[in-house]
Amino acid sequence: MIRPSLGLRSATLALGFGFLYLPIVLVIFFSFNASRLVTVWGGFSTQWYRALFADRQLVDSAMISLKVAFASGLVATILGTCAAVALVRFGRFYGRTLFAALIYAPLVMPEVITGLALLLMFVSLGFERGLWTVVIAHATVGLCYVALIVRARLIDCDPALEEAASDLGAPPLRAFAAVTLPMLLPAIAAGFMLSVTVSLDDLIVASFTTGPGATTLPMRIYSAVRLGVTPEINAMSTLLLGAVALGLCLAGIGLKRQRG
């Protein structure tokens, strides 16, 4: 009675989801198009998938992207969790405002600025640009995503539980590890996945901070797209979509398992 009618809600949701998913559906659709031309349907074909796997450069950059994503995700998760704990549990401390500001900023800062700044830092430090500079750059941004997700969950964790544990004799680290950490695990995992996703998807920061021999997948795709639309890209995207969908399903099942 108080909420908008089912009809109105359904119509809005249908329109919204239609808009959101139309381009995605199209990409999947045309990845199986035998014709090179996007606008003409030439019959069903998996040739672009075959071409994809034959493309050495594409496969190489995919591997590089994966390495960067996992390495930076790991660093981001550790640092981000520490940051979240500091934000939520350490009360007021000297420099807290600056600390919080630094954590929230990367979420909105235009990537061209972030990329440029990091590159100049690497140059001034004399770091040779390559895979590792990209890892550092992605970890810096990923840190903020992880911190926000873990913080949201940590706020709901009652510190009284840790106090009870220490009352029963557990030193602070053990109290945290035994009581709070298990509750945080889903948030930490979610933060990790988000950091990996953001890293896999990043074009601009990577372009600024990378070096020879470390061309990431988005960079490869971008240069391919600029040259003209190639159907392998459709195939590549469909595969990525499939991987993401699979990941989401697994996450969903994992969550359900935890609940019940």
């Binding site: 908008p4 959101l20 199209l26 009360g91 235009p110 061209v112 998807d201 601009i204």
Partner: protein, 303 residues
């Protein structure tokens, strides 16, 4: 007991110091460097600017100060390309933010008012496109918007149009691209704000005589304002500096600062100018950034 406390303090210190030092080193200091480079002279060298501070000759820093120059900034003000880029970026970002809000609000409201069981699945479904490649999704709009693209082909085939709509490579295409890409960033804070609303408040409003539209206007909307602000900031600020969308969907008339900066950096190898452009962009965004940070601080739990 004392040893335990000592260990505890060191432990706490470490937990804070790790991320804090990292962020200062790899986020705060870099911005200072951008400022510094923007004040340097451009040279044909590697790196293409005259360095002020040399690790091997720290004292020389003082003597080199006179090499600081505002050339890059002056160059910016004289270049109509940059001026246009800034203005265009702000306008396009503002328009895109407005449109994103208008589309995302009813959508987020519909999800937040759905039966409780459905909310998280629906939300995840709405956010899921974010998990797919940003580049690919923008690229899909190329397929849709080109003169020979799918939308035009469909409209012509249906007889609604005789000539294709020239959307591709215009500001309109860029706006569509930005709205589409940033939609999840608006949906999420809106959903959180709307879902959090106490059902009793809506019932009280109805009980006091407000028909559904009035309930929305007088209670739901005002209470969702913090979410609206958060969402708008999370779209507007990055959209101003957006690069990929104008590069792929835009044309020669759609100048945005993101691509102008990129070109100056990679194509022209003019690092001081690019840095100066970045600093100016940052200054332009100081207002919204401050509001954003203030907004986030307000949501911090008080100890």
């Amino acid at each position: 007991m004392r040893r335990g406390q000592g260990v505890r303090r060191v432990g706490r210190g470490l937990v804070l110091a790790l991320p804090f030092t990292w962020l200062i080193l790899f986020y705060l200091v870099p911005f200072a460097l951008v400022a510094k480079v923007s004040l340097s002279q451009s040279v044909l060298a590697q790196p293409p600017y005259r360095p002020l501070f040399d690790w091997h000759d720290p004292a020389g820093f003082i003597s080199k100060l006179h090499q600081l120059t505002l050339d890059a900034y002056v160059g910016l003000t004289q270049d109509s390309l940059y001026l246009q880029s800034y203005v265009n970026s702000l306008l396009i970002a503002a328009l895109s933010t407005l449109l994103t809000l208008l589309i995302a609000y009813p959508f987020a409201l519909a999800i937040a008012r759905s039966p409780r069981r459905w909310r998280i699945p629906l939300l995840l479904l709405a956010i899921a496109p974010f998990w797919t490649s940003f580049l690919i999704r923008v690229y899909a709009w190329i397929l849709l918007l080109k003169d020979e693209g799918l939308i035009n082909n469909a409209l012509i085939a249906l007889g609604i149009l005789h000539e294709p709509l020239h959307i591709f490579a215009t500001n309109t295409a860029v706006v569509i691209g930005i709205v589409y890409s940033y939609l999840p960033f608006m949906i999420l804070p809106l959903y959180v704000a709307l879902d959090r609303q106490d059902k009793a408040l809506l019932e009280a409003a109805a009980d006091l005589g407000a028909p559904p539209l009035s309930v929305f206007r007088r209670v739901t909307l005002p209470l969702s304002l913090p979410g609206v602000i958060a969402g708008c900031l999370m779209v507007f600020i990055p959209a101003v500096g957006e690069f990929v969308v104008p590069d792929l969907l835009g044309g020669s008339e759609t100048l945005m600062i993101g691509s102008t900066l990129w070109n100056d950096f990679f194509a022209n190898r003019d690092w001081p100018t690019a840095s100066a452009a970045a600093i100016v962009l940052l200054v332009l965004l100081i207002g919204p950034l401050a509001v954003y940070e203030h907004h986030q601080m307000q949501s911090e739990p008080r100890r």
